[in-house]
C-alpha cells in the first residue's frame, strides 16, 4: 500500500507543471525577508507564514484530489480510514506532487494521534543561512536584536499548508517544526498532531428555525 502511494505521488509529480527550483527558493526567500522587515517580530512572522501556508493548503487539496481522480489513482487517494493513511498521503503523495521531494513518515505516538514528517531536503531553504547569535552587528536587520531571528521558523509555510489541506478533509491538526536543518539539525522534522476530527454538518444558513 505504501509503495502504491509513492508511485501515485511520482505519477502526479510527473504531471505537474514545473518551476525552476532556484527561482522558487529565491522567491520564497524574498517573501520571508519582506515579512521579517514588515513585522520585525519573528514570532509574528512565523504566524504570518503559517497563515499564508494555510491559504495555500486549502487550494492544494482540491488540486491533489482532482488530479489523483482524473489519473485513475483513486485507489491510492480515497477516504482515509485512519491517521496513518492520511500521513502516508500527505508525505508520499502531497510532498512528492507539489515539491518533488521524498518525505518520510514516522514517530507515531502511542494513541496514533500524532506523527512526524521527515524531510531530507528542503527546497525552500536552498541558499538560506540564518544569522547566528554572533552576527548581531551585521546591518541587515532594521531593528530588534538579530538573535531574535533564531526564533524564526523559516519553513513554517509547510505547517500552514498541512493544516489547511487537512482542514479541508475535516481533520483539525496542529503542526510545528521540530527540527530544522537551518538550525543545525541533520534533517527537517514536522510534527503533526491531530486535534479533532470535525464532523460534517450543515452551516449557519440552516439554523434559522
Amino acid at each position: 500500500m505504501a509503495s502504491s502511494k509513492a508511485q501515485a505521488g511520482q505519477t502526479l509529480w510527473a504531471k505537474m507543471p514545473k518551476a525552476n527550483a532556484e527561482l522558487f527558493a529565491l522567491t520564497y526567500g524574498s517573501l520571508v525577508t519582506e515579512l521579517v522587515r514588515d513585522y520585525e517580530d519573528p514570532i509574528e512572522v512565523n504566524a504570518q507564514l503559517e497563515r499564508i501556508g494555510h491559504s495555500i493548503g486549502v487550494r492544494c487539496v482540491d488540486e491533489l484530489l482532482s488530479k489523483a481522480d482524473s489519473s485513475n489513482l483513486g485507489s491510492a487517494v480515497t477516504q482515509c480510514g485512519n491517521l496513518r493513511d492520511t500521513a502516508e498521503v500527505v508525505s508520499k503523495v502531497g510532498f512528492r506532487m507539489f515539491l518533488g521531494i521524498q518525505a518520510e513518515v514516522g514517530g507515531y505516538s502511542q494513541d496514533q494521534r500524532s506523527f512526524s514528517i521527515y524531510l531530507q531536503e528542503n527546497p525552500l531553504s536552498t541558499f538560506v543561512e540564518l544569522p547566528t547569535i554572533g552576527d548581531e552587528q551585521s546591518s541587515s536587520s532594521p531593528s530588534g536584536g538579530l538573535d531574535d531571528l533564531r526564533k524564526l521558523k523559516y519553513s513554517n509555510l509547510y505547517c500552514g499548508v498541512i493544516r489547511g489541506a487537512l482542514e479541508m478533509v475535516n481533520l483539525k491538526v496542529e503542526c510545528t517544526i521540530v527540527r530544522d536543518t537551518l538550525k543545525g539539525d541533520e534533517l527537517n522534522e514536522i510534527r503533526v498532531e491531530l486535534k479533532e476530527v470535525l464532523s460534517d454538518g450543515a452551516g449557519d444558513d440552516y439554523k434559522e428555525e
Binding site: D62, L65, D69, S70, M168, V169, D200, A202, D205
Partner: protein, 179 residues
C-alpha cells in the same frame, strides 16, 4: 433538453454555484427566496441520504451516493473528499444522442458512469482549473447567489468573474445527453 439544473454546494451546504437550464411554469412563479430554500432542501436530502447510506453500507464498501431517481427526473450527485458536492438534475432516461467520435472512447460505459465521469470532469477540469486556481478565490468568502443582497457583497469573490460558467456550459452542451 434533459439537463434541468446544476448546483454546487460546499461542505456546509452553502451554495457556491447554481444554474438552471430549463424553467418550468412553477419555477417562474417562485421568487429567489423560495429557490434558495429549495436548494437547501436538496442539500439536506443529499446530506441525510449520504449519512444513511454510509451507515447501511457494509464494511469495506464504498458509500458513495450516485443518484436519486424520481418519477420525473434524476438527481446525479458527486461528492469530493474535500466536501464539495455537485448535483446535476436531469430527466430520466436521457436520450443518448450519438455524437461522432465522442462516444467511441467510453463506448461501454452506462449512463450512470458517464454522468459520474462528467461530474468528475466538471470538478477536476473545470472547477479546479477556473475557480480554485483563481487568484481571487477565497474558500470562505464566495458570493453565493447573484440574487441575494448585493450591497454587502462588495469585495467578495464572485464565480462570475471566472470563466467557470462559460466552460461549464460548453462542456455540458457537448454532452450527448444535454438535449
Amino acid at each position: 433538453m434533459t439537463v434541468h439544473a446544476i448546483h454546487i454546494f460546499d461542505r456546509k451546504g452553502k451554495t457556491l454555484f447554481t444554474k438552471r437550464y430549463t424553467t418550468t411554469k412553477q419555477q417562474l412563479m417562485q421568487d429567489a427566496e423560495q429557490v434558495s430554500e429549495q436548494r437547501k432542501l436538496i442539500f439536506g436530502m443529499l446530506f441525510s441520504l449520504r449519512e444513511l447510506v454510509g451507515s447501511l453500507t457494509p464494511e469495506g464498501g464504498s458509500p458513495a451516493l450516485q443518484s436519486v431517481k424520481t418519477g420525473a427526473g434524476t438527481l446525479h450527485c458527486y461528492e469530493t473528499i474535500s466536501g464539495l458536492r455537485i448535483a446535476l438534475y436531469t430527466n430520466n432516461n436521457p436520450v443518448m444522442n450519438t455524437l461522432p467520435g465522442a462516444r467511441a472512447a467510453g463506448g461501454e460505459s452506462t449512463s450512470i458512469t458517464s454522468f459520474q465521469t462528467a461530474l468528475k470532469y466538471i470538478y477536476s477540469e473545470i472547477w479546479v482549473e477556473c475557480v480554485v486556481r483563481s487568484p481571487l478565490y477565497r474558500p470562505e468568502d464566495i458570493q453565493v447567489d447573484p440574487l441575494e443582497g448585493r450591497d454587502n457583497n462588495a469585495g467578495r469573490f464572485d464565480i462570475k468573474s471566472t470563466n467557470f460558467e462559460v466552460k461549464l456550459d460548453a462542456y455540458l452542451s457537448s454532452m450527448p445527453w444535454f438535449r
